[in-house]
Symmetry: D3
Subunit: 243 residues, 6 copies
């Protein structure tokens, strides 16, 4: 199957890191194409980053439509542009946050999230509320580690994330941990070994769930708000989107 | 006071219509600047339209920062880009959907919403859930009138909206009506006369609430997720956003 | 416009203090009439105080009907009698708690409340639940300062409230603060300066929102549970209410 | 045990009717005192009625404190003044709406409510929300029968209530019915026979639950918001309440 | 009246202890039959214990149908098998957890629960969510005291439970305490004396509420999901359940 | 991988039907073992059926522990015994209802459920509430088709289910359909073709999600309420469970 992996930010090295994590997680027979938008911020850490990143996700789904992916994964923990992507393709589309939340809900009756900047916790909490899984999440914990530091200082950030995870699990009394950033994917196995609870990386979870949905022959609904966008004029840099 | 009114779509005639409604609603001493993004769809009727419209709102807040507005109103019923706008200015920022919901909640213990395409109801319902006011809204009703038809066929669409409003009020047993599109602003007074319940147009409500907040000396919080965006490199058409 | 300000308790000096705060907040052209019930407790700090205060609010709306106010503000943080007042007039009626909650929701994605006696937190929490805004409030914090001490010992109480506010903001991680008593109105500007976050005083917010609704031409719904009370015999001190 | 039954309205014949229903429901050894406020409306059918009725309940708990009741029942479906009553006595206090909701929740996984004026449904829905039992109630149905017609036209109103109950049960798919007015108590047994589902009258339920709590030796908490009211000056007709 | 008390575990001495508590709580004229399943675990402390305990409750309702009980009480804090029991009899059936939650809701606006193993808190939290009373419970606190230690080491466990209760009440700011295990019934009066708040034992509460429902002539609904089970073949040790 | 499929009822032909559907859905390399309890009802259609079915699931997890399954699927739409199964193994355990709900949530913003007996809707609604996905489900619709008729009269039941699905989708305005019984698995592809929306069969979804979790190396949490059951004496037919 052909899997389109979209990193919504514009840092190519991070796209490569995420793609490597996705390939490591994927089953046999998955052909992966990893892309990033032609525009936008180097990382997604606030609402402004997110709205442009969401537009970038839509751009990449359109740009890769000719490749006819069997599934799409959006690899940023705020799941930017996932709804828009679902309008643009009937292939299943998965955000890594929702994939991680759902995976965790199969493994424990409660989970905790450890993420990057504290200011992004609001986005995660809204996703939890929208997905309905807020009741299972006992806490979203910011570490105030900038996203790009995950690549730049892997040793130091691992230690901080492990410490935050231990504190979160103790305070929340949760049974599982969700990693709140695509950039944390490489840390997952090591953290799981050290913490003694299931640790869910959304990149891997989204890839495997995408394979599962594809294997089931399930496609995104074309009825309701995921129907294809109504045609209309578009302007400016997006003027080609209209036809 | 200086009020920046952003129409998130790129239809100039609709910007003019909304601006006229805003001016009619505004108190004495309001200087209004009405703008629209340099890119994006002619109307906002689906998730793809919305993510690009949200990026367009951010663009316009940035582009008009030099004018130093005292308040910002985002004039599309899905409130696209409102969170992003709040990061980019400490002036109060109001979306017309939230303004309308809050106004209605002061006037009746329940309200109904009549909007354009049925597929947009999901967006309104999510805004209601996020704002907490879902419990007061007894129904969001689509009419399947395209946004731009509101301008093109005012007579025919008025009749359809009035009929939908009567049915909604009867079925829901609500005490007030919220108009679910900026393009419906010109219909508000006439609808209110005919229906016998308060009819809330979000454009007018947002303008007056923006004046209220400005009069109170209240500004958007700079603490938490509305703090200014962290600086970072940006790429492509948005490369100037980075510095 | 004519604004009726009702202090639900019977302490005349507090009525004067609140009226001064309201006048300071009001826009040009607001004619303010500040009243208090002819009966009831000197302050509203428990359920018994509140039910009699609510009846007092209804008394004053009736007593001032001849003045034909354009809007009514109920200046006690429990919003006693607001629903009853809405039955008795089609002018917009605003409670200061709901006005403050709604104002805060425009400025930050979360807020905290600092109030007087801890036992009154239940009332604030119920108002938050009823208004739907409970999801945005991260904490209602009692200081155990009696309402009337706010006037009697302004210096000492300011220090205690500031300390409680700092602790609340730190613990809750909120972006804005709501003052939980009409008697705290005079402290608002100074607290805001010192705390660095928006501080919302419900008296000022209610006055400005009342002006906004009046400016919009919006009136309380006459349909549903805010329709005028059905006529019937009344007994005792309220016997004149029946006709 | 001594049971104080308070009818919050001022119609003496209705007090007598409710008292008869309460006596019929009560176990052996219950000494019943049925009272009504010295002031207020002839029936409770809107928010104004309710706030004055709530003050009347507080008046009667105070007035009968010397009798030292072992439990108090507030016999109006909006449960006016129940919180205030709990501050004024450590005897258990039960409202008939909450008693009925709780009883129904023991008998079926869902229930429906049939009440008097449609405008009062808001009050019942808020009580359901506050008590937490909203999730079990599939519908609150108004019949637009005025409260006092229940006594004046028993035959005609019985037929209308039975018809409304049948329609409510069919539409809601509920397993039990709650009667939404103290004045419906005399209809309970006959309705139950005809409908084939448990029909709960709140007056009887509150009396029996009051006996149960008394039998258990449980008293209203004196800690938190049900602690006795703080002493303070009172004015007007309530000036004696201060000391 | 005839009351069937089912201890869902298979420890006969615990059945006797609970029966003694139930007898002490019951009113005059209650004939009590205390039983336990013929199979299952010695105590209910995890999900496996609970599913088998639930089947055991169903077994005992069937086995004692010939005795024609007027009410049934299930005496384990997870309320195992209560729904199943309600299908098997039209006598009222009460679980001790729900009985305790409802009793506490009449006495305070919030309560705390102190229970045995921390892992059982999930079950209590789910019951609270299902019953709707989660909003009133400010905390479910595990003590990690095994159920059977309550009998074996009464002195030591009393001290630990009292300490946990004091801490829970202080942290939660609750007005009442609920005991989270049938085996804690004998501690109730002493704890209440020492803590100064109402302490609710579910065994006693369920017995008295069962009496109340019986006195009201209310029976479990036969409509909806509590209708008698449809007849069908059964296999294995339960083969006699089919006819 | 080794997948243990447990049919909680005791109808061997239904176990075979479900196993065939599971095999058809499974990816390459899945070794399937399909089992059923040694005791219990021929179908699961009420609370009594369910509690015994849940005990049966626990029995089969224990009985097949020696086979060391890599994942477990519980193939009854009420997900009986899933929590208990998770205590008994650290392999991932999936119920078909939760698997179907989660799959549908990836494909549409709302879904509807069509199930067998109307009385079982309560169980589905509680699972939706517990999983958090209730907000996405717009309706659970009973057809009153007995479970075993799905095998006995495939043609007639297909027509009834299709009709119910069409009505549900139209009334609810949902974008996807969930089949509410393991016995409906063989109908899934044909229904999907005819309805034009994604149709989710929980058996297939659970199998593929189980493969996904296994592929991710994720196991059930051993911390919290899914830790292994504490050892203790067991009695009766379950006496061997104690050691």
């Amino acid at each position: 199957m052909k899997l389109l992996l979209i990193n919504p930010n514009t840092t190519a090295s991070m796209t490569a890191t995420i793609a490597a994590a996705a390939r490591a997680a994927a089953g046999a027979g998955v052909e992966l194409r990893a892309v990033q938008p032609s525009f936008g911020p180097a990382s997604i850490e606030c609402h402004v980053d997110e709205v442009v990143g969401a537009a970038g996700v839509a751009e990449q789904v359109r740009a890769n439509a000719g490749w006819a992916p069997d599934a799409v994964v959006v690899a940023c923990f705020g799941d930017p542009g996932v709804d828009a992507a679902r309008e643009l393709t009937d292939a299943p589309v998965l955000g890594i946050a929702e994939a991680a939340f759902h995976a965790a809900s199969f493994l424990a009756t409660s989970f905790s999230v450890v993420t990057t900047l504290t200011r992004t916790c609001t986005t995660a909490e809204r996703l939890l509320q929208r997905s309905g899984l807020a009741a299972l999440c006992r806490g979203v914990h910011g570490t105030d580690i900038p996203v790009l530091d995950l690549e730049r200082e892997p040793q130091a950030t691992f230690a901080r994330i492990e410490a935050a995870a231990r504190e979160a699990l103790a305070r929340d009394g949760s049974g599982a941990l969700v990693l709140g950033c695509a950039g944390m994917a490489p840390l997952c196995a090591r953290l799981s070994d050290r913490l003694g609870v299931p640790v869910v990386d959304g990149v891997a979870a989204a890839v495997r769930f995408a394979e599962a949905l594809h294997g089931l022959g399930l496609r995104t609904s074309r009825r309701g708000d995921y129907a294809p966008p109504p045609p209309k004029p578009w302007a400016g840099w997006a003027s080609s989107w209209g036809g």
